[in-house]
């Protein structure tokens, strides 16, 4: 992004509401949530199950549209975009890290990493080159042609991180990134996150592991669709 507009927040949530129709009753998952996230910030979103964390993450990830309110990502209002435009936003401005990795099993490591580029229709050799570069960055150079099931959990999560970085996103969204890992791998992954943030990446972590949440510089606590607390530490 142009440094001149850096002061303006990279993520702006303005009174965002989300309601679901579950049979006859309407469920309010988010009841007016507002917050800003500055570029380069490191945020954890915490809260008990059913507090709206997943909904918030889906909205942040442009996988879903808010029922009301506005969501500005990099200054662009994405809350009213159509499906194709949202796909483009996901593919160019967001990086996803999932709890269960979500790697495509029949593809190799390098092919998994290049998926976001593939859907931007970048030339094939450019995709491959970039994917290799990011695989090297997470220390997987010697595993490029392995299938995901041949890797350990920590390695798989590093593939996912490489995949989330490959399109040079504005924001990286991580959903319980250490949830499926043993403690050593978990710590390792958290270190990778710290490094990424040190390099200036904006990270948003959804977790209910306090030790993970504490590493972030700011914690947003959700409860029953509201922001309960927004603490910077």
């Amino acid at each position: 992004m142009d440094p001149a507009i850096m002061p303006s927040p990279i993520v702006q949530f303005d009174n965002v509401r989300k309601t679901y129709q579950m049979g006859p009753n309407t469920v309010e998952a988010l009841r007016g949530v507002s917050f800003d996230i500055a570029a380069g910030d490191y945020i954890s979103i915490m809260g008990p199950s059913g507090c709206g964390k997943s909904t918030l993450l889906n909205l942040l990830g442009c996988l879903d549209r808010p029922t009301a309110g506005h969501y500005l990502l990099g200054g662009q209002d994405v809350s009213g975009m159509d499906d194709d435009a949202l796909s483009a936003v996901r593919g160019t401005r967001l990086g996803f890290i999932f709890q269960s990795y979500n790697l495509i099993q029949q593809l190799t490591v390098v092919e998994n990493i290049e998926i976001p580029l593939y859907y931007q229709y970048r030339p094939e050799n450019e995709c491959r080159e970039r994917a290799c570069k990011f695989a090297a960055r997470v220390g997987l150079t010697d595993r490029l042609d392995h299938k995901p099931f041949e890797l350990s959990g920590g390695q798989q999560q590093r593939v996912v991180i490489a995949r989330a970085l490959v399109n040079d996103p504005l924001v990286i969204l991580a959903d319980e990134p250490t949830g499926n890992l043993d403690s050593t791998s978990g710590v390792e992954i958290m270190k990778v996150f710290d490094e990424l943030n040190a390099q200036g990446k904006t990270l948003i972590l959804v977790t209910h592991d306090p030790s993970v949440g504490k590493r972030a510089r700011r914690t947003i606590r959700l409860s029953d669709g509201h922001i309960e607390s927004d603490v910077r530490h």
Binding site: D83, R90, N102, L103, Y119
Partner: protein
């Protein structure tokens, strides 16, 4: 609303499709088909058998009708053939065999004259007398039909002379003893030497061989009226009509125990050539009228090769329609099989779809991915079917000796339809995949 959107995105999907992207999508598709090899193969089988059976059946049918048509064509499409037939009730009398009897039937010279005189459009007329006898070369013998006819027989009946010459007007006028042999009987009579210039014996007379006809090709058995003449003349020898008239007269005698039987036949066959194809039907009607008026008994039969040809073509058309519907049904079944598997595959790969959507895949990307897979499945099935369908007629014609013809369009058509089936039956599963909610899809186990 989402329906309109998917239709639009379907169009977009096809519009934004570059060759490079298609190639990539195909590579991805091959990968995922290969991942489920057995399933893909079984799915393909429906299309394979559909395509293969269409091509094979068409080839066999085409071969059979080709033979029939060739045979009819060899009679000449502008010709009308009137044959003398022993009337059935007379036949009974003669079979009693107790009385001596002279049976008179067949086409007469008067008929020939009347037809040329009264019917316009008739250009040439070709009389023929057929006599069954043995033809000898020293000790070799062939049971043969001796055809007494006129010099223009070869041109009119599309049966050219292969070696030597046919007899001429001079031979006719001089009643020379010359003959032209059918190609089929040459190896039997003259296995080692050229028959030209040699003599063959029929009864007590010798005929010089002046020519050999071209082989008539494979004489397929047809229960068509054309070839129903008793035990069909496989071997034929052509002799000038005048010579036959002189040698045999008009009464043929056959001795039986206690009686003898005689037949008085002027002409066995009369071929009428009509000036143009359009007039054939009309002239045939006219000839029928003329013949009916002058023959009390039904001792003749009128064959119109053109009509037989038309009938054969109509039969072929019906055959093709039947084949077409069989093909359509089998391809439909194959297509339903493919759709079924693709729907299962879409459900099974819900999570993959969710991941791809989360990572920036548009609806149309998902559509292309699944559509390419389906089309490849049916396309590869189609190619296998074409290969198999081309091989089967080949094997059939080698083992069963049946003629088969693979027309260029039948594999092309079958393949195109199979690919089309892929598109048609692939669209619904692909749209279903594309319409999945990414959030739901990611949550799918």
């Amino acid at each position: 609303m989402s329906d309109i959107k998917t239709n639009a995105s379907l169009l977009n999907a096809l519009r934004g499709l570059t060759l490079a992207r298609l190639q990539r999508a195909m590579r991805v598709g091959i990968r995922s088909l290969w991942l489920h090899r057995l399933r893909s193969l079984l799915t393909m089988l429906g299309i394979v058998f559909g395509v293969c059976s269409v091509i094979a059946m068409l080839a066999i049918g085409e071969g059979a009708s080709y033979e029939a048509q060739e045979q009819i064509k060899s009679l000449g499409s502008q010709n009308i053939i009137i044959r003398g037939v022993k009337p059935p009730d007379e036949q009974k009398v003669s079979n009693q065999g107790s009385q001596s009897y002279v049976l008179q039937y067949g086409v007469t010279y008067a008929d020939a004259k009347r037809i040329t005189a009264t019917i316009p459009g008739v250009t040439v007329i070709l009389p023929a007398r057929n006599i069954r006898d043995y033809v000898w070369n020293i000790s070799r013998r062939v049971d043969c039909e001796i055809v007494g006819t006129v010099p223009w027989y070869p041109t009119m009946r599309n049966q050219p002379v292969a070696r030597g010459r046919f007899f001429t007007e001079n031979d006719m006028d001089a009643r020379t003893s010359v003959c032209v042999l059918g190609a089929e009987m040459v190896p039997l009579l003259f296995p080692l030497e050229s028959p030209l210039g040699k003599h063959v014996r029929v009864g007590g007379d010798y005929y010089q061989v002046i020519g050999v006809m071209e082989a008539r090709g494979h004489e397929a058995k047809t229960d068509d009226a054309t070839e129903q003449k008793d035990k069909s003349a496989a071997y034929r020898m052509f002799v000038p009509l005048e010579t036959v008239k002189m040698r045999y007269g008009e009464i043929l005698m056959r001795r039986r125990s206690g009686s003898f039987e005689a037949e008085r036949v002027e002409l066995h066959e009369l071929t009428v050539k009509v000036a143009s194809l359009e007039e054939v039907t009309g002239v045939a009607e006219a000839i029928k009228t003329v013949m009916e008026r002058n023959h009390k008994k039904k001792d003749y039969q009128i064959d119109v090769p053109l009509e037989m040809l038309r009938r054969a073509e109509r039969t072929k058309q019906i055959f093709n329609i039947v084949l077409g519907s069989i093909a359509a049904i089998s391809l439909l079944v194959g297509g339903i099989g493919i759709m079924n598997i693709m729907l299962a595959s879409v459900t099974e790969r819900t999570r993959e779809i969710g991941i791809r959507r989360a990572l920036g895949a548009r609806r149309r990307d998902i559509i292309v991915q699944f559509l390419v897979e389906t089309v490849m499945l049916s396309g590869i099935g189609g190619i296998l079917g074409v290969l198999l369908g081309v091989t089967i007629p080949f094997i059939v014609s080698h083992t069963a000796g049946m003629k088969t013809i693979i027309t260029l369009w039948s594999p092309l058509l079958a393949f195109t339809i199979s690919a089309l089936v892929g598109v048609v039956f692939g669209i619904y599963p692909a749209i279903r995949a594309a319409n999945m909610d990414p959030v739901e899809a990611l949550r799918h186990e």
